[in-house]
């Protein structure tokens, strides 16, 4: 009888653990995108020059961004992808239906990817998170550091080559901070173009994205 209570306790604990370990299971999923235009509604993409709303001195994002987007779209889109030159006013407007119909003659299954882009740099002050302990109370040190923030703002239109109608419009804005105030603009342009691509493609092409979810065991 002396061993009864420890044995009973052990049995109860064992039974309890049999239904334990029920925490959620984290999973990473490759989820399909949701294209803003119905599948099959266009068979060709013509990427035009973008209007430059705020070009930096030594870079032309209105040309470089469409070049980059056209190359990247060509890697994932099954149909033809080409570049076209249009006046900045036509891209930023966008131009009237008749302009796009004329420009798209012979490419009725195409959509134009057009719009405007601004790339601006700004030196900003921010709180320095790493202040040495021996300088915590040093009045000469304010705890502020300067960094360079590059911001890319893109206004994108999808225009039907058949009707000249704007099928979709989106505004995308991304920024990157750099500690080096003399960081060449090309670095920021490259990083920001990639962020814009990552946001634009799921909506434009329905490309998939990686998502985190948690499954339940019981």
């Amino acid at each position: 009888m002396r061993g009864f209570f420890p044995s009973a306790l052990a049995a109860a604990l064992l039974a309890g653990t049999a239904c334990g370990s029920g925490g959620p299971v984290g999973v990473s999923l490759n989820m399909p995108g949701i294209a803003v235009l119905p599948p099959g509604s266009f068979s060709e993409i013509i990427v035009t020059d973008f209007a430059d709303t705020a070009p930096p001195a030594d870079l032309a994002p209105g040309l470089e961004l469409p070049n980059y987007l056209a190359a990247e779209i060509g890697r994932v889109f099954a149909g033809p992808v080409s570049r076209a030159t249009v006046p900045a006013e036509a891209a930023a407007g966008p131009a009237p239906h008749s302009f796009w119909k004329e420009k798209g003659a012979g490419h009725e299954g195409a959509v134009f990817l057009t719009g405007s882009v601004g790339l601006t740099g700004q030196v900003r002050k921010a709180v320095d998170r790493v202040v040495p302990l021996d300088r915590l109370f040093d009045a000469s040190r304010s705890g502020l550091v300067e960094h360079l923030r590059w911001t890319m703002a893109v206004d994108v239109f999808l225009v039907s080559a058949a009707t000249g109608e704007v099928l979709h419009r989106t505004n995308l804005r991304e920024y990157r901070d750099y500690k080096e105030l003399d960081k060449p603009v090309e670095f920021a342009f490259s990083a920001l173009s990639d962020l814009i691509r990552a946001r634009l493609f799921p909506a434009l092409l329905g490309t998939s994205t990686i998502e985190r979810r948690a499954l339940l065991r019981r």
Binding site: M1, F4, A12, M31
Partner: protein, 114 residues
């Protein structure tokens, strides 16, 4: 005396186990998890749909099935299953978090029409 002790021991174990009785969905839930771990999401969806059929009150089964539907791009079905999971377990943080991520993604991708 000895028999009495053994019987009492068994009764205690059974009582303790009874507190976490397996639901009719638990076998299918586990099978679905195993399939999902092997990236066999269609099979996982089948298992969790069966779990829902066997135990419509299982919030876990609805949650998991919603995720499988998301994986297939079946947004309306996913919305329905998340809704049911939240109705059954409105305070379950995992389901709330999954649903918030699902809604945010849908709005991010859909909310850009002119």
């Amino acid at each position: 005396m000895r028999f009495k002790a053994i019987a009492s021991l068994a009764a205690i174990a059974l009582l303790a186990a009874g507190g976490c009785a397996r639901s009719p969905a638990s076998g299918f839930l586990a099978a679905g998890l195993a399939s999902a771990r092997q990236d066999a999401w269609e099979d996982a969806a089948r298992q969790w749909a069966q779990a829902v059929a066997n135990d419509p009150g299982s919030a876990a089964a609805h949650n998991n099935l919603a995720i499988a539907y998301e994986r297939q791009g079946a947004w309306e079905e996913a919305e329905r299953e998340y809704g049911e999971a939240l109705r059954l377990a409105p305070d379950e943080p995992t389901i709330k978090s999954n649903y918030a991520a699902f809604k945010a993604r849908l709005e991010r991708l859909r909310g850009r029409m002119p």
